[in-house]
Structures are given as structure tokens and as C-alpha cells.
């Protein structure tokens, strides 16, 4: 009973171990390949529970998720021979696991360095046929798509790798070029400042001139109106005078002259030299008024 039991237990254990070593699990994030004596017998094994022959079969699994890789900053020349420091990244994934295994032995590092040199060359070419302006603004998307497609033409077949995206993270200007840009920016700003000031003066001058014009016109119009009004007054007054004085011309001139005398000789400063023979004086010399 004892030894038998032990044997039974051992047997059970061995069976369990065999079972355990002949199943394997590939997670959803990976794909696997099965190697028998180093030879690929099963490829592109999907996620799930699978069986293998223990000991002689080996399973390799590869991450098939999207991976991102930073491309360290490098200098590329544009078509006008301007140097640009370009920092970019690649998003890629394993498309074909057995090809990937054959090409790289399943080593992501190797895959990355292969991709890196291809993308680097691609960037060099693409930058070389574009001006700085095109690279910076207009054609980023286009440049990247071209590059991606170009790399994919070969990398899928050769390494089983698909590049989803190549993107420029940063384009920097080398020191000397930045200096030039700063200088140009400063000059532009100075110009702009000058423009603002001049425009301000121009506007101000216009406003002042307008104000002066308005003043002149207002005063002139007022003058015209006031003269007209005075004229009306004069006319009316004259006609009133004419009506009144016209009724006895002779008496009017007498009356008015007397008034004028009174008004003109009104101060002590006026000295009148009077002939004693005048009418006014006739009684002064002779009470009878005889001359």
C-alpha cells in the first residue's frame, strides 16, 4: 500500500508536469512561433491556449503591440544647404512574426537599429529635396507619409515590421542660424514699432487737421450767418428810419445835426473857438440882439 501509493502519487505528479509543460499560453498582446529543433514549424500563433511537445518544442513570442521609438536628434541639410537638427520618433509594430524572427532572431533592439538607419536615410533624402520653409510648415504631413511608405516598401517584407508613423518631434536651428533668425526678428519688430509710431502720428495729424478745419468752417459759417443777421437788422432799421424821417426831410436834418453837435462836443477836452458874432452870441453883446 505504502510504496504503491507513493508510486501512484509520483505518477500523478509526472503526468501533471507533462501536461503543464506541453501547454502554453500566448497572451492577447503577443504572437508566437513554435520551434522544433530550431526549425519553425508553426508561425503566427494567435492568443490562447496551445499545445506543444514538451522538451523538443520551443515557443518564442513577440509583442505585436504598437511600439514607439525615439530617434535621437540628427542634423540634416535642406535643399538650400541649411542645416537642421531634427528629432523624430517612429511608431511601429511587428506585422509578420516569422519574418521578424528570421530577420532579427526576435531581438527588438536589432529591429530598432535596422529601422533607425532606414528612417535616418529616408529623412536625409526627404529633407535634401525640400526647402526649410517646406519642411517646417507646408509639407510635414506629406514628407512623413512619403517616408513611412518608403520604409514600409521594404521593411514589411524584409523584417516583418510595419512602420505606422514617422513624425518629426522637433526641428531646431543650429546656433549660427538661430542668431540670424533672432536678428531678423528683431529687425522686423523694429520696423513694426516704427510703423505703429508713424501711423499714430499720421492719424493724430489727420485728426488735428480735421479739428482745425471744422473750427474754421464753423466760425466762417457763423460769421456769414451773423453778418446776414446784422444786415437784416440794418435793413430793417434803415427802413424804419426812412419811414420816420422821410416825412419831413428838412426838419430831420436840423434835428439830427443838433443831436450830432451835442454828441460830438461833449467833453472838456474839446475847445471851441467861437466868433462872438454868431447867432448864439447875439444877446451876449446886445440885449436887443442887434448886430
Amino acid at each position: 500500500m505504502g510504496p504503491k501509493g507513493v508510486l501512484g502519487l509520483a505518477g500523478t505528479l509526472i503526468v501533471v508536469l507533462l501536461v503543464l509543460s506541453s501547454v502554453y499560453i500566448i497572451p492577447e498582446t503577443h504572437r508566437g512561433v513554435l520551434l522544433r529543433f530550431g526549425e519553425l514549424v508553426e508561425t503566427d500563433i494567435p492568443a490562447g491556449l496551445h499545445f506543444k511537445v514538451p522538451v523538443i518544442d520551443q515557443v518564442r513570442e513577440f509583442d505585436i503591440r504598437v511600439l514607439t521609438m525615439d530617434l535621437p536628434s540628427r542634423q540634416y541639410l535642406t535643399t538650400e544647404k541649411k542645416p537642421l537638427d531634427v528629432d523624430s520618433y517612429i511608431a511601429w509594430k511587428i506585422r509578420d512574426v516569422d519574418q521578424f524572427y528570421r530577420a532579427t532572431g526576435g531581438d527588438e533592439f536589432r529591429a530598432q537599429s535596422l529601422l533607425l538607419s532606414r528612417v535616418d536615410n529616408g529623412l536625409r533624402d526627404e529633407f535634401g529635396i525640400r526647402t526649410m520653409h517646406e519642411v517646417v510648415s507646408g509639407q510635414r504631413d506629406e514628407l512623413m507619409h512619403t517616408l513611412r511608405d518608403r520604409v514600409n516598401e521594404t521593411s514589411v517584407d524584409e523584417f516583418g515590421i510595419e512602420v505606422l508613423d514617422v513624425r518629426v518631434k522637433a526641428i531646431e536651428l543650429p546656433g549660427q542660424v538661430s542668431e540670424n533668425v533672432y536678428r531678423r526678428m528683431a529687425t522686423e519688430r523694429e520696423k513694426l514699432a516704427q510703423e505703429f509710431r508713424s501711423r499714430g502720428r499720421e492719424l493724430a495729424e489727420g485728426i488735428r487737421a480735421d479739428a482745425d478745419r471744422q473750427r474754421t468752417v464753423i466760425l466762417a459759417e457763423a460769421f456769414a450767418e451773423s453778418e446776414e443777421t446784422r444786415g437784416e437788422g440794418d435793413r430793417e432799421a434803415a427802413s424804419i428810419y426812412a419811414d420816420a424821417y422821410g416825412s419831413n426831410r428838412e426838419f430831420y436834418s436840423f434835428y439830427r445835426s443838433l443831436q450830432a453837435y451835442q454828441n460830438t462836443f461833449s467833453g472838456k477836452g474839446d475847445i471851441m473857438v467861437i466868433d462872438s458874432d454868431s447867432d448864439f452870441m447875439k444877446f451876449l453883446k446886445d440885449p436887443m440882439g442887434a448886430k
Binding site: 505504502g2 501512484g8 502519487l9 502554453y24 492577447e28 498582446t29 492568443a47 490562447g48 491556449l49 518564442r60 513570442e61 504598437v66 514607439t68 525615439d70 523624430s88 526576435g106 531581438d107 527588438e108 517646417v136 508613423d165 513624425r167 518629426v168 518631434k169 522637433a170 526641428i171 533672432y182 531678423r184 526678428m185 519688430r189 523694429e190 514699432a193 509710431r197 501711423r199 493724430a204 488735428r208 471744422q214 464753423i218 466760425l219 443777421t229 437788422g233 440794418d234 424804419i240 428810419y241 424821417y245 416825412s247 419831413n248 426838419f251 434835428y255 462836443f265 461833449s266 467833453g267 472838456k268 477836452g269 474839446d270 475847445i271 471851441m272 473857438v273 466868433d275 462872438s276 458874432d277
Partner: protein, 399 residues
Amino acid sequence: MAWNEPGGNRNDNDPWGTGGGRRGDDQGPPDLDEALKKGIEKLNKMLGGKGSRGDGGGSGSSSSGGFGAVLALGLLLVLGYVIYQSFYTVDEQERAVVLRFGEFNRTESPGLRFKVPLIDDVTKVRVTNVRTAESSGQMLTQDENLVTVDLQVQYRVEDAQAYVLNVRDSNQALAFATDSALRHEVGSSSLDDVLTEGRAELAVRVEQRLQRFLQEYGTGLQIVRVNVESTQPPPAVQDAFREVQRAREDEQRVKEEAETYRNKVVPEARGQAQRMIEEANAYKQEVIERSRGESSRFLELLNVYERAPEVTRERMYLQALETVLSNTSKIFVDTESSGNMMYLPLDRLTQGATLPRGSLSGGNQSSNDRNAEVDIQELTEQVIRELRSRQENNGRRSR
């Protein structure tokens, strides 16, 4: 995340290849696997050749008490461990992605959850909290100027399944994509836009582009918002930019000064105009009224005059002369007796008698008047004396 495998042990040629070194912390089963195996082996050694177990498991009659107890204890321990391994909790902030035999099976919401040990593999992802990524630096604009931009992206995990299964490091992918999207959008905006009104629009465009990248990669991330925190010209040219600001203010100031001038001058002119017109109106009314008054006065007088012309005329004449002569200085000359020559020192007479005739000068007129009066009286007396002496001489001569 824990899925991030250090690449370093990719090169070791262990027979399990990637399988061995992979799956670090939060994937229990492989380790459990090992542990269980070891446990069973230990148990084996412990039991080594002693006792037997029938197919019926624990229900078999245990003859040797010690061994049976150990076995029962072992089984109990194993059972306890298995049960313990079968439950886990998902926090309110998390979702759990469950793989069964490696295949995606379900996504669990918060609470106490059950899993099958060794078969189910659970990855917990925090989905409620908002994560942030920053991107900043100096970059080129469309017009080939440089600008310094600071940007913050807030995002969260929208789809835990995609987050776990599609991209190895979604956060890094997002960080890279943010850098790229920001520079791309700044590169297609003008400097002035980036520095001023275009900032809000820039944030929107970066957000759209970034969301597109994230969808393309299948990160399972959702952008909550993109903040352009600051956009500044490079330090080297900040002075020049401030100068522009000052120039703008100058422009405004000069303009406002001119407007102030206008607002002063034009109303003043209107006021002056008003005054002119009013004065003219006043004049008009004045002359009309005066003419009326004078006319009626004249007509009244004429009325009287026509009734007694001679007397009235005489009276008026005398009255007028009286007024005139009483107000002025007088010198009487006898023309007949004076012969043909007469000397009147008019310059002396008028000295001091040059009074302002405007009648408006107030204060010193009185004194002037008095002086003049004295002078003139003196002069008059002199003249009269002179005349008398002449008359006497004439008389003597004629006799």
C-alpha cells in the same frame, strides 16, 4: 506600465526566449505556475515513497495518521491559496482587463471580482484620473521665426482594453505625438498668430491632430483638453517685442491726444460760433429797437414842431448849443476887432486837455479832468487878458 519589458534581458538565450523574462509584476500565473510546481515537488519529496493516494482523493481512508494529516494539511493549504487567488478587487478608479488563456475575455468594473487562477490574467488600469503631459520648447513658425511655447495636455484612459492591448506604452506614444503635433501646428501658423489671437485656435488644432494620432495608434486614450500655457518670443528678441508693445501704446496715446484736441477745439468753435450768431441777433434787435425808438421820438417831436415850427426850432437850437457849450471849453473871438491876425496858442491850450474821449476810462479821469479844468481856466484867463489888452490898444488907436 508593468508591460514595459526591459530590453536588457532580450539577449539572454534562455530556452523560454521572451517567455521567461517577460511579464513582470502584475501577471501572477507564470510565477504561480512555478510556485505550484515547486510546491508539488516539495510535497512529493515530503511524501517520498510513503503512503498512497487513491483516485478518490481525500475520501480515501487514511491508515497512517501522520501522513494523512500532512496530506490533508497540504491540500488545505493549496485549496486556501487557490481560493485566495480566485478573488480580487477593482477600485472605483480602475477597470480590469481580463485575459483568459491569454485571449481577451472581459473588462471588469469596480467591486469584488472573481477569476480562475492560472487561467485568468488580470491587468488593472486607472481610468478616472486625468493624466497630464507637457511639451515645451523653442520651435519654428511658418514665417521662419522662433517662438517658445509651453503646452499641457490632459488626457485619460478611455478604453482600458485598447490601452492594455494595442500599444506597449501609450503614455510615451502620447508624449511623442504631443511634441510632434505641437510643432506641426506651430509650423503652420504665423508668429503673430501664435503670440496673440491664434493661441486658442492653436490649442484646438493641436488637440484635433493629437486625437487623430492616438486613434491611429489605437492607444485607447482620450484627450480631455489642451492648454497652450504660454507663447513667448525667444528671450533674445523679447526687448524688440516689448518695444513694439510700447510703440502700439504710443500710437494709441498720440491718437487719443489728438482726439482730446479735437474734442476741445470743435466744441469751442461751436461755442464761439454760437456767440457770434447771438451777438449778431442782439445787434439786429438792438438796431431795430433803436430805430423804432428814435423814429417814434422824432415823430413825436415832429408832431410838436409842425404845430409851432418857429418856436420849437429856436428852442431846440438854443438847447442844443447850451448843452454843447456847457460841456466844452470855449474861446470867444471877436473877428471884427481882431483884424487879420490872431495868435491862439492851440498847442498850449490842448496840452493837458487831451482827455480820452472814449468815456470808458474811469479812475483817473476825474483828476485829469480837474487838471485840465485848471489849465484851461488859466489859459482862458490869459487869452481873455490878451484880448482885452488888444481891444484897449485898438481903442486907443481908433481914437
